[in-house]
């Protein structure tokens, strides 16, 4: 065949999971459309550039996605400890060279890019946990305490560093992802019960001694946001107004008054879903939610067909990463959860979030790519 592709190339395209790619592209498209609206309000001079920036991140993200698809994930799995230790180093670096923003040290400024090690740490944890936990047996009664002690140590080290920044949202996210993976592999019932009891005891202690004032405020205003409409509850109220005022069909593209007139704070990052709900209504909100659900179903299918336990577990880890981000971000936007700085994967503006998510999905794609290889 003169004009056709070579056999290896044809193999490449036919081995890709097109369902996964299409659903990601769908979310990307909706995300860009929405981000355009969010960044072209009355202060468009200041924010208009962010939209094009995001396109750049997206292109880079897809590049990483395909690179990771081609690279054998087993190779990455063998490097799990190396990746983890490098990331830990970066996280320590933040403590000394980090940029202070919103009262917390989170970034390392690389000039062209503000690198946020806590974000890549999530990916490193997923790979490392998949590496360690795939050795465990999930048949019988589940993991005992001795099985879990090493993974927990590895989890608590970055957790402690992120809490110190302080970025409670990301730290809790690490726990959520790691915890999800551990529970997925199976834990003995007795341990789950005693863990719940420990949390019940630790929570009040953490409240009194562990949390900073702004963190306590966030939880408090979540409980009663109308108490101080111009203070900390302001974001929560304005977000609920934005979402609700969209009604069924929404106010229309770039017609959302809450977003365009800047009543919504952080509308291009953490509150991007409010913009979407305001301008596209229940229709758009549910479409987005459904897209995510389809993504998870496609992901589970990939995990189910994975070639080995590591691949399945890593896929579950990446899915839990996307799921918990989506759950907490949407939950706070629609007023079910307190306000925490967690972006919505694939929709929020932000290089780190976009690249990390695309890397994770690249790993999933890599798993899918190899499912027919035996």
């Amino acid at each position: 065949m003169e004009f056709g592709l070579r056999v290896e190339e044809r193999n490449f395209f036919s081995k890709l999971d097109w369902g996964l790619i299409l659903i990601i592209l769908g979310l990307n498209a909706f995300g860009l459309l929405n981000l355009y609206s969010a960044t072209h309000g009355i202060s468009s001079e200041e924010m208009g550039g962010l939209f094009y920036q995001q396109i750049v991140w997206l292109i880079v993200g897809w590049g990483l996605f395909f690179i990771l698809t081609i690279i054998d994930y087993q190779f990455i799995g063998r490097l799990a400890y190396v990746i983890y230790i490098l990331n830990l180093g970066a996280l320590l670096g933040v403590t000394f060279f980090g940029k202070v923003a919103y009262g917390a040290q989170r970034w390392i400024d690389l000039g062209f890019f503000r690198y946020q090690p806590s974000e890549t740490m999530k990916m490193a944890m997923i790979v490392l946990f998949a590496h360690i936990l795939s050795e465990k047996n999930s048949m019988g009664p589940g993991m005992g305490f001795r099985d879990m002690i090493w993974p927990l140590i590895l989890l608590l080290i970055p957790f402690g560093l992120v809490v110190e920044q302080p970025d409670l949202g990301t730290a809790m996210m690490l726990i959520a992802i790691g915890g999800s993976m551990i529970l997925f592999v199976k834990v003995r019932k007795g341990i789950i019960v005693s863990a719940l009891v420990a949390v019940a005891i630790a929570a009040p202690l953490a409240w009194n001694f562990g949390l900073r004032d702004y963190q306590k405020n966030r939880v408090l205003t979540f409980m009663s946001p109308t108490a101080d409409p111009r203070g900390t509850g302001y974001n929560s109220i304005q977000s609920k107004i934005a979402v609700g005022s969209g009604k069924f069909w929404g106010k229309g593209f770039r017609k959302g008054t809450q977003a365009q007139l800047e009543f919504l704070p952080e509308r291009h990052t953490d509150f991007i879903y409010s913009v979407l709900s305001e301008e596209w209504g229940l229709f758009g909100s549910l479409c987005t939610l459904t897209f995510f659900m389809v993504l998870f179903l496609v992901g589970i299918k990939i995990a189910n067909q994975a070639n080995d336990k590591f691949a399945a577990l890593m896929t579950v880890g990446v899915l839990s990463y996307v799921f918990w981000h989506m759950f907490i971000n949407m939950g706070m936007v629609i007023g079910l959860l307190p306000i925490v700085g967690i972006p919505l994967p694939l929709l929020s503006y932000g290089g780190t979030s976009m690249l990390t998510t695309m890397c994770g999905l690249g790993l999933v794609s890599s798993v899918a790519y190899r499912r027919y290889l035996f």
């Binding site: 590496h131 999930s138 199976k186 939610l289 079910l336």
Partner: protein, 664 residues
């Protein structure tokens, strides 16, 4: 080499049962979020849409100009002036500290004070109330604040209409004043005028006088302008409006109705000047014979303009605590013993009840013993044998003691109540006091004691229980002057809407004609009126009249002086010089008169509190008002006067002429 990297799909199948909880978690999440979105966007959607509209649409109130108040000739008594205020809308302020700092530089007010104002307002009215930082800005300040708005959201210049009272303290109690609705009053008013008028925080409302009485008509309807704003409170231009669609049309304000009063501004000014020049405390009421009020003065007074500008708490506290009560509308609220001004009414009663005739001569020694105590006259030697004419002209007490003894309280009450004493005149204004005219039944009911015969004597000379307001005395004397016409006094002539249509007009109202038979059987003959009027004419025009120094050239005036005891003194103290007592122990002076004596057009009642005498204390003011009235309405009488100055004031030393001191 660990086992997990061996291609072993069978081993991976180990996880198959582990996916089930994931499906459950996903399904629950989907249901939960869908339900929540449904709740927010469908169930609460309409409500939250309204919230988002309120967020972006800022209502700017276009204050309706309050109706003007004119005098009877259409001259301004109360008007509106434009003023500019610097205000802060705290909800839009980003950085309060910085904003107050730059604002303080712009308007020359300490930033601490601005912060205090904001905090105070927040406490009183809640966090969204507009805070007036400084009122009545100069043009320079207006410019500076307007420049600030660009960088400091929440700072604004508001055009404001302020109420202006060109007469200042003159007539303040009559016209009233305006001030912001109190937080307490707000819900009450909104309940009262449900569906008709919406009162808001910061609205001005009439607080006394005509401003209060006709507030609803005067205030008009505020309009609104709707402006799209961003989250920082910055207004958006017309082009920005188009992006987000529909712009809401302004609602134009409707100006309030104008009110025309019966007041004559000229007379009002003469009355106030004459009264204040003498540094008098008290009240002046001048009415036309048909009941139209021409002048209305109450002193000490306050400047209602201070309230328009925002009165300082210190000044307000000072006025509230002033023992002579500047806020009190003394014309209808200060009721005091009428003293000898009661005597003409006694004379009418005596004549009608045939106790005396016009020619009856009564022996009047210096004192009269009744019961166990002597009742004195103010002239130690007494007046000798005198008729009713002299008794009134020179104000004999003993003459009227004798009348009182003969008549008894209930016959006095029967007649004198018909002149309006003891009941409200029902003038439009609020909080009128009806005074008191006692009867035996009244005393039994309210004091719980029998009427004592001795009380007939004190009542006969207008002391004891009997009290009356200046306005009541004017009405009673007007009834004598017009020979029986008891009228209802009124202030508001017309209510005129903004287009000039008269929507309410008031006409004189006759309460009763005493020459006609009254329900209680009284019918007063014209002869009786003429006799008493002649006696009263002599008070001013007669050689020995108690007000003979206060004649008006070319016009005959008829009236009566009076002194109202502030407290009882023993027999010796009665003769001590009144002016040597502390001010608040001095007697009140009364003078009530009408002119022209034969066929009166104007009746003036003056109560000069703590002025000791009616003649020197009150009569000059009556003279000035009557003279001004006559000159204005009958200039032909004064046409031949070469030098106006000679008739203006005839200086008299108070207390020199014993006949100038009237009876107790």
């Amino acid at each position: 080499m660990s086992t997990q990297y061996v291609n072993n799909p069978e081993a991976a199948k180990e996880y198959v049962p582990r996916y089930r909880p994931i499906y459950v978690l996903l399904a629950m999440t989907f249901i939960l979020f869908t339900a929540r979105l449904w709740y927010l966007q469908i169930i609460k959607g309409t409500e939250l849409r309204e919230f988002s509209e309120k967020n972006r649409i800022k209502e700017i109130k276009l204050t309706a100009p309050r109706g003007l108040i004119f005098d009877r000739e259409g001259r301004i008594l109360v008007e509106n002036l434009a003023a500019y205020d610097a205000v802060i809308l705290p909800q839009y302020v980003d950085d309060l500290e910085r904003t107050t700092k730059v604002l303080s530089e712009a308007i020359g007010l300490e930033s601490d004070k601005i912060l205090q104002k904001i905090q105070k307002k927040r406490k009183q009215m809640g966090p969204f109330a507009i805070v007036k930082v400084k009122e009545n800005l100069t043009l320079d300040e207006v410019f500076r604040v307007q420049t600030l708005r660009i960088d400091y959201p929440g700072v604004e210049v508001r055009e404001n209409i302020i109420r202006s009272y060109p007469l200042g303290p003159n007539g303040a109690q009559l016209f009233g004043y305006v001030a912001e609705i109190s937080k307490k009053q707000l819900p009450i008013l909104n309940q009262q005028f449900k569906d008709k008028i919406v009162f808001e925080q910061g609205d001005l409302i009439g607080k006394s006088g005509v401003e209060e009485l006709r507030d609803i008509e005067l205030r008009g309807r505020d309009g609104y302008s709707f402006i799209q704003v961003d989250a920082h409170g910055r207004e958006l231009g017309a082009t920005d409006n188009k992006i987000l669609g529909q712009q809401i049309k302004d609602i134009e304000p409707t100006p309030g109705h104008n009110i025309q009063l019966t007041i004559d501004r000229d007379l009002q000014e003469v009355a106030f000047k004459s009264f204040s020049d003498l540094q008098r405390i008290g009240a002046v009421a001048a009415i036309k014979s048909n009941g139209e009020v021409l002048a209305w003065v109450s002193t000490p007074s306050f400047d209602p303009n201070e309230f328009s500008k925002g009165i300082s708490p210190d000044l307000f506290a000072k006025m509230i605590n002033d023992p002579f009560k500047p806020f009190r509308n003394k014309v209808i609220q200060d009721h005091t013993a009428p003293g000898s001004t009661f005597k003409p009414l006694m004379a009418i009663t005596s004549l009608e009840e045939k106790i005396i005739t016009a020619s009856t001569i009564v022996n009047c020694p210096g004192s009269l013993r009744f019961g166990n105590r002597p009742y004195h006259d103010h002239l130690k030697g007494g007046f000798g044998n005198i008729s009713i004419f002299e008794a009134i002209e020179r104000s004999s007490n003993v003459f009227f003691y004798k009348m009182g003894i003969s008549l008894g309280i209930d016959r006095m009450y029967k007649y004198i109540s018909l002149f309006g004493l003891g009941s409200r005149t029902n003038i439009e204004l609020k909080r009128e006091n009806g005074g008191l005219l006692p009867s035996a039944a009244w005393k039994m009911k309210n004091v719980g004691e029998e009427w004592q015969p001795g009380e007939n004597l004190s009542t006969a000379i207008g002391q004891g229980y009997v009290t009356a307001t200046p306005l009541q005395m004017a009405i009673a004397y007007n009834a004598i002057g017009t020979e029986g016409k008891v009228v209802k006094p009124f202030l508001i002539q017309k209510l005129i809407d903004p287009r000039g249509q008269v929507i309410e007009e008031h006409h004189p109202e006759l309460v009763r004609d005493l020459q006609k038979l009254q329900p209680n059987g009284v019918k007063i003959s014209p002869q009786t009126f003429q006799t008493v009027k002649e006696a009263m004419r002599r008070v001013v025009q007669g050689e020995r009249g108690t007000a003979k120094h206060w004649k008006v050239p070319h016009v005959e005036m008829a009236g009566k002086t009076g002194t109202s005891q502030v407290r009882s003194f023993n027999a010796d103290d009665i003769y001590t010089e009144c002016t040597s007592r502390p001010l608040n122990y001095r007697h009140h002076g009364w003078f009530v008169a009408f002119a022209p004596a034969e066929n009166p057009e104007i009746t003036v009642a003056v109560l000069a509190e703590h002025a000791c005498h009616g003649s020197t204390g009150a009569a000059p003011v009556v003279r000035d008002i009557v003279q001004a009235y006559m000159k204005k309405n009958h200039p032909e009488l004064f046409a031949n006067d070469k030098d106006m100055k000679t008739i203006k004031i005839m200086p008299v030393k108070p207390g020199v002429d014993p006949s100038a001191i009237d009876g107790e």
